[in-house]
Symmetry: C2
Subunit: 191 residues, 2 copies
């Protein structure tokens, strides 16, 4: 139990440093220094910097996957599913900002095996997103717009949210949770 | 006339290299080599790598500014203005992909004076965009959603378009020009 706590403390500290300087520019020594411990004692809890990176990236990626797997099969309409997905992106952005930044900036530094796992999760996520759009179009709930354009537009905004949110703390989370889904799903033009 | 042609050839070639490898990783020697000329003769046409960068970045930034200055005062409604702005982003993305990539990736490497010019143009552009949104809300043409969220969402998508467009050549420009403005302005939900 003690070890698990220490490990999660190491990971949280590393995520902050990776976010600030990028994975490549941070050493195990830097992480130890930030924690006020010796570099050698880091290795009691963690095998390598790569292990920290994969823990961070796969933790966030699995948060997205788990939510998608929970929402996708529900008997609610496509609009409600997309709404839930957008709310989940906002929640993860607010709650795991450093982890998310690290995933977005440093996933390409994962080793071969973890990279394959990450890409599999990301592709599966996009495939479910695409299916929800296509089902929504088939059921006449959504406009028949090019799915690739819609996926690009919505996911680009959601993936960049952590960058904007870090700078624009003047916008309250409640406003974001109310207005971002409206903007993405219903647009900005009055009917 | 000959010098101008040569200069524009140098700039186009440099933009391609900057896009591929980033401004910092490209030398004047690399640009000369790509053009099949001696590095020394580059300097007959151009003072420095910084001059090339500022020519590229300010060229694109001014394309956006000129279009905004032409559209903003017109007596058309806010939706038509936003539609025209989105179409212009698509046109510049398609016509000046390398220049746009260079602006997005390397503007921070401009020297102090050019950086100030660029940031002034970018801030003025965003301010006009914000005013169009606010006028549209005041005239009841647009939904009263938080303007900062809307600006973030639309400009993030438009600014990332060149990345996506380079990879997704399967989507025709005509489809993009039809469906992207719809997605951004009217959303994807059927009324």
């Amino acid at each position: 139990m003690k070890i698990t706590d220490r490990k999660s403390e190491i990971i949280v500290t590393a995520a902050k440093l990776f976010k600030k300087r990028g994975y490549n520019a941070v050493s195990m020594r830097d992480i130890a220094q930030e924690l006020g411990i010796k570099a050698a004692s880091l290795y009691n809890h963690i095998k390598s910097k790569q292990e920290i990176l994969s823990d961070i990236v796969l933790n966030v990626a699995e948060s997205f996957t788990n939510h998608m797997e929970q929402i996708y099969p529900q008997s609610i309409n496509s609009i409600q599913k997309l709404e839930a997905i957008i709310q989940n992106h906002i929640d993860i952005t607010v709650q795991k900002t450093d982890f998310l930044a690290c995933m977005n900036n440093d996933w390409m530094h994962l080793d071969e095996e973890n990279l394959a796992t990450y890409l599999k999760l990301r592709n599966a996520y996009e495939a479910s997103f695409r299916k929800i759009l296509q089902e929504g179009i088939a059921k006449n709930e959504l406009e028949n717009q090019n799915s690739e354009i819609v996926i690009f537009s919505i996911l680009t905004t959601l993936r960049a949210l952590y960058l904007w949110y870090s700078k624009k703390s003047s916008v309250e989370v409640e406003v974001l949770k109310k207005d971002l889904p409206k903007t993405l799903l219903h647009g900005i033009v009055k009917n």
